[in-house]
């Protein structure tokens, strides 16, 4: 039994750190995307999170985690474009729905949130695990988090998720892609890491960092 809970301040800090880590990995994410896609993933995400940051700074002080996550969702949807915009947008939208009304999030709530995000991505993008997409970060993340004993500390949930997402992103390297632009390449995608899986891992790591310092 742990008493640690995460609140709206954590969500704000998560968003701030997300924007930061995306900005500082902008070039690298685009380089990954140049190898298997069209070279804009870093740019797309950075445009989105820069907008998100501005929106969140103006959000009402009493905004709940769900309010903030919804703001992230709509802002990403209306600023990112490309494949990742609607996918991450849906992820945050579903995450918001999963914690509707809650002011404090315990480990189960965080797991529900991550799980809903993953389901949203799969719903919109119809990718299976192993298709070499962001799903290959999110699915192991959710699975690892779910494998922890019930009543778990939310930070531990996030940490398990982030670790698994990072491993999942790395594990996309040997895969042939079956969704997204990388699927056009056939065998030539082998050896390259999926950009969306990589940015997903960065976002989950930012969630851990925000929780640990928050």
């Amino acid at each position: 039994m742990s008493g640690v809970v995460l609140d709206a301040a954590w969500v704000r800090e998560w968003i701030r750190r997300s924007a930061e880590v995306i900005a500082s990995n902008r070039a690298q994410l685009s380089t990954l995307d140049r190898a298997v896609g069209d070279g804009d993933h870093g740019e797309n995400m950075d445009r989105g999170f820069t907008a998100v940051l501005a929106k969140v700074e103006d959000a009402p002080l009493d905004a709940t985690p769900a309010d903030l996550l919804k703001l992230v969702a709509t802002t990403l949807i209306s600023t990112v474009g490309g494949a990742s915009g609607p996918l991450f947008g849906t992820a945050y939208l579903k995450a918001s729905g999963a914690v509707a009304g809650a002011v404090e999030l315990d480990g189960d709530a965080v797991l529900a949130m991550l799980s809903a995000a993953r389901d949203g991505i799969v719903l919109r993008g119809k990718a299976d695990a192993g298709d070499k997409t962001m799903v290959d970060a999110w699915t192991p993340a959710v699975d690892a988090a779910a494998a922890l004993p019930s009543g778990r500390d939310p930070i531990a949930v996030l940490r398990a998720a982030a670790d698994a997402a990072e491993a999942g992103a790395r594990a996309t390297e040997p895969l042939v892609a079956r969704k997204g632009r990388a699927s056009y390449l056939g065998e030539r995608a082998v050896g390259h890491r999926d950009p969306g899986a990589s940015s997903s891992a960065l976002l989950l790591r930012a969630a851990v960092d925000a929780a640990e310092t928050g």
Binding site: A27, S30, T31, R34, A35, G37, D38, G39, D40, E43, N44, R47, I77, S78, T79, V80, G81, G82, A83, S84, G85, P86, L87, R124, G125, A177, R178, K179, G180, R181, S183, Y184, L185, G186, R188
Partner: protein, 333 residues
């Protein structure tokens, strides 16, 4: 990177503003949300056509807005699908009460963003139908992939669906014609030199001085395979073969042939290519009824070209020949 621009972040806004200023008789630009509509509204009751996608493919789509073709084009950031908001806004702006056809190139991003836009328009009571263009035979189609890309054959769909709408077909009719054109169109491309996306400043892929990339997309995506440079006729054969075999196109067919420059290809090379296309098709008993040679669906300054063929029937040819008055395609008016 050397480009004629002011700020990499505002290239699309500035270019679209310049486009509107240059062609006030044909198009009108809405800056925020960013979309392009016809300067002269069509007759009421006409089905409206909206297309869009990442920028960098000009004249697609803005150059095809006007009488006989699109009602609106929605330019996204360079090589990135626009978001749902401007698509929905454009859809609403051009709806004449007869519904709106979305012409969407088959990329995950375009499909998802147009889907959401259609939902938003639907919520406003606008009937929206979508047609996907996926003409690129370089990509192996399969239920288990994102499917084929939409490339230069999009011009065929926009032209002919536009003529059907102008003729007075209803939304289902226009969608059916658009689908028929999309189903009968096949394309494939080659790149000699990659393009450079303004915000990254990096070439979209690397090619040695004696290599070409076969099966290239229009976003600087790498292609199907990389081979040593060969004579033009051989390279054309490498593109034409898969196109002809895929539909397949057969002796007795009539086609529209498009030799499409990727943006940085000298006109001379496009015509050298067309000469081969004409020879090969004549040899196979395929009649080229109409031809386009030029830059229609580009990839910034990429050097290379794509070939597209549309298998015609009498109705499609009649609609192809119908008047069109856009910045990039104009005849009969």
């Amino acid at each position: 990177m050397k480009k004629l621009l002011n700020d990499p972040r505002s290239v699309v806004q500035e270019a679209v503003a310049g486009f509107g200023a240059a062609h006030p008789g044909v198009v009108t630009v809405s800056q925020d949300p960013l979309f392009i509509t016809r300067a002269e509204p069509p007759r009421t009751g006409k089905v409206a056509l909206v297309s869009g996608g990442g920028s960098g493919h000009e004249p697609l789509h803005g150059g095809f807005v006007g009488y006989g073709m699109l009602d609106a084009a929605v330019p996204g950031p360079v090589f990135t699908s626009p978001t749902p908001d401007p698509i929905a806004a454009a859809t609403q702006a051009v709806d004449q009460g007869a519904g709106v056809l979305h012409i969407v190139k088959n990329y995950t991003g375009d499909v998802l963003n147009f889907e959401t836009a259609a939902d938003l328009a639907d919520a406003e009571g606008i009937a929206v139908r979508s047609v996907l263009v996926s003409d690129d035979v370089a990509v192996r189609d399969s239920l288990y992939t994102a499917g084929r890309r939409g490339v230069a054959g999009t011009v065929f769909v926009e032209k002919i669906a536009g003529a059907a709408a102008e003729r007075g077909d209803d939304l289902d009719g226009v969608a059916a014609i658009a689908t028929r054109v999309a189903e009968r169109t096949r394309s494939m491309g080659v790149a000699l030199r990659p393009c450079i996306v303004p915000h990254s400043g990096e070439p979209s892929f690397e090619l040695d001085d004696d290599e070409v990339e076969i099966g290239i997309g229009i976003h600087g995506e790498p292609g199907r395979e990389r081979i040593g440079i060969e004579p033009a006729d051989r390279i054309i054969d490498r593109l034409l073969g898969p196109i002809l075999d895929d539909l397949p196109f057969e002796s007795g067919d009539r086609v529209v042939a498009l030799v499409n420059g990727m943006g940085g290809t000298p006109s001379m090379e496009l015509y050298i290519a067309y000469r081969r296309v004409a020879d090969v098709l004549a040899g196979r008993g395929i009649e080229v009824a109409r031809t386009l040679v030029g830059d229609y669906v580009t990839s910034l300054e990429m050097q290379g070209l794509s070939l597209s063929l549309l298998q015609l029937d009498d109705e499609l040819l009649e609609l192809w020949d119908a008047p069109v008055q856009t910045v990039a395609l104009r005849w009969g008016r």
